[in-house]
Symmetry: C2
Amino acid sequence: MLRNYKITVSYDGTRYNGWQKQKNTEATIQGKLEQILYRLSGRETAVHGAGRTDAGVHALGQTANFRLDTALSEAELLDYFNRYLPDDIAVLSLKPASERFHSRLSAVGKVYRYRIYTGNAKPVFDRKYMWQFPEELDAERMRQAARLLTGWHDFRSFCGNRRMKKTTVRRLDSIEISSLDGGRELALTFEGNGFLQNMVRILTGTLTECGTGMRNPEEMPQILAAEDRSRAGITAPALGLTLVEVKY
Amino acid sequence: MLRNYKITVSYDGTRYNGWQKQKNTEATIQGKLEQILYRLSGRETAVHGAGRTDAGVHALGQTANFRLDTALSEAELLDYFNRYLPDDIAVLSLKPASERFHSRLSAVGKVYRYRIYTGNAKPVFDRKYMWQFPEELDAERMRQAARLLTGWHDFRSFCGNRRMKKTTVRRLDSIEISSLDGGRELALTFEGNGFLQNMVRILTGTLTECGTGMRNPEEMPQILAAEDRSRAGITAPALGLTLVEVKY
């Protein structure tokens, strides 16, 4: 009997072309997970992820679901995944889910974190997980801008897909900006009901432009109102971004 | 005029054949630092490290010294190092030192940390910096053994160099064993006046054998007294070890 399983997945995205399976590369997270299920069952099994993380983006708690008919127990299935997955992808938990559960459609919220290195040295051990920012950032200016971006808005100006046909309205609940490691790191935590393609990276790029003084925090309402990608800031690099949690 | 400089260096040892320069490989930390000084000055300049870390061992605060005649200021010289070093090696600080200062001979103590992953999942982000241990470890048994290893002892049984001609007597001040990350990590911190080749890794291997129950903590005095490498436990893998600090 086919059963629906929910998994929580952690990965270091450095070596991968993102979550979503692609025809021209084996190096995607979805592709790796589906390979394991093919190895186990001999059937093609679709693994549906909650968020299609970009190439180079990491996850602490991505979720996904798939339907499988197996004699293995949950503990054995979890073990099977982790034995055959490369060491930069781990399945943290595996549970049976209701028949109607879909990792993306059932999600009610997501949490992303973006890490910026602002110290003077080089972050040797976290170099693959932080954007090394060359200038000083005024966190207070970034927080002013962040407050003007939260709430229900049309985030078309912060969407990397210029041909996006569906609604670009999302609820951004909060952007917390914390100074860590004695001021050497700035961590931006975004929570909302859903995020558009590149949205966290464009928000981060725009916030850093407020932080350097190049842009005024008070511009944010106008950028949102313009519904035009070219009005927002740069897309921050993928390596600093981590999908922390998917809420149900 | 030649001046003596002291530097503090951090590195991810994963890609390197250890600190010490070798004839058959470019991939050593000392080699990389000396290359930068050759590039700057056109002269071969020896960089003396405080500890000859093994292949794959990391450093948060290795120290070294070298003599150089340069018109660059200290800030410029620091910058020059970090611009040309690969991104897994960083010079954290650079200061002029007294003529008599030698990073190894002047050192009065060293701190090493060994990280063991004891969780059930795979440590995706720290996989290159932790020994993934397959069994449960009883930290209290390890602490009992650790207490019997501290003090002034002949550590010949814990020395990886079987032809060691010089004294193998060292003062091991403390071994702290901390449970971190909700019990998923065991961190062993070693402080002493100096460490023999592989000494921290053999101490760690022996302590884990006490932790699994395979070995009795009370054996420690006999192992020390035997002055025989074959009486101690295995050499723990290099990847879990980090040179944290050198004291002067």
